[in-house]
Symmetry: C2
Subunit: 145 residues, 2 copies
DNA sequence: CCGGATCCGCGAAGATACTG
DNA sequence: CAGTATCTTCGCGGATCCGG
């Protein structure tokens, strides 16, 4: 009967995972802010310290597609982190801005950014060392870090 | 060769995006920690305050596949955030632990987690309000969660 | 038996063209 | 200018097999 357990184990694992996420609020938020576009949008709005238009936001986040930007903005709006203001004039203007709640998220994110800026060189060195070690296991000549 | 325009634009955008990431260290780290498994692994190791085996780590992060766990662990090892200790005995044992660098990342991450725990209810309320508003723009009576 | 690498299927991310 | 629909591509997740 060992073969039938595969499906059961999948269901169990799924349920356990779901329950795990459900019981732990930080995990839910983690899942939200772990999205890179979310963080970039928050940072962009926070950096500008004011409302930004859709296109302006897209301009500040190179590499983002309209789809993902819209999707991210909708998600953030739904979560109450950003506000969406529509000016229904001939040139459609939509402004996005951080809500107080979204603004409060900037602080913890700033800590992470700060850490990143401080320790990025170390990480870069670690990467080089790791890659170099993998490339030359015998340990002959290692590239300068 | 008009068809190459699309490819060119893609390459340009890609290059711009890449350059954007390259010039901004925080973006690089952001791209790394924006991976939810990364954060979960870091938190799991930090929470346990000691080395954890591969299977033990997988047990503490329900829903993660072996592939992603291994992939994440490799990336973190490469970045010098975690250490990997292989005990090549008859029962293969591989222990992972936070390096000092990885440990220092715990603090900023903790801030984020803390924020999440504090503001999750607000976000939940915002979501409900948003969904409710979308469901009944006219203001009809609708009693869905 | 544990740790991990590989292959396959699926769903989401991404780019493009189109609409209001 | 803002946003949507469609197609493609890619990365995740799962199952299976391999090495120690």
């Amino acid at each position: 009967m060992a073969t039938t357990t595969a499906d059961q184990r999948r269901a169990e694992a799924r349920a356990a995972y779901d329950a795990y996420l459900a019981q732990c609020p930080s995990r839910q938020l983690l899942a939200r802010i772990s999205d890179k576009w979310v963080t970039l949008v928050i940072c962009a709005l926070g950096d500008h310290r004011g409302p930004l238009r859709y296109s302006e936001l897209a301009r500040r986040i190179p590499g983002v597609s309209q789809k993902m930007l819209t999707q991210t903005l909708r998600a953030l709006e739904r979560d109450g982190l950003i506000g969406r203001t529509v000016t229904a004039s001939v040139p459609p203007r939509v402004d996005y801005e951080l809500t107080p709640l979204g603004h409060s998220l900037l602080e913890p994110i700033w800590h992470v950014k700060h850490w990143a800026e401080q320790h990025m060189p170390e990480i870069d060195r670690a990467r080089t060392a790791y890659d170099g070690a993998r490339d030359e296991p015998t340990g002959a000549v290692r590239a300068s870090g």
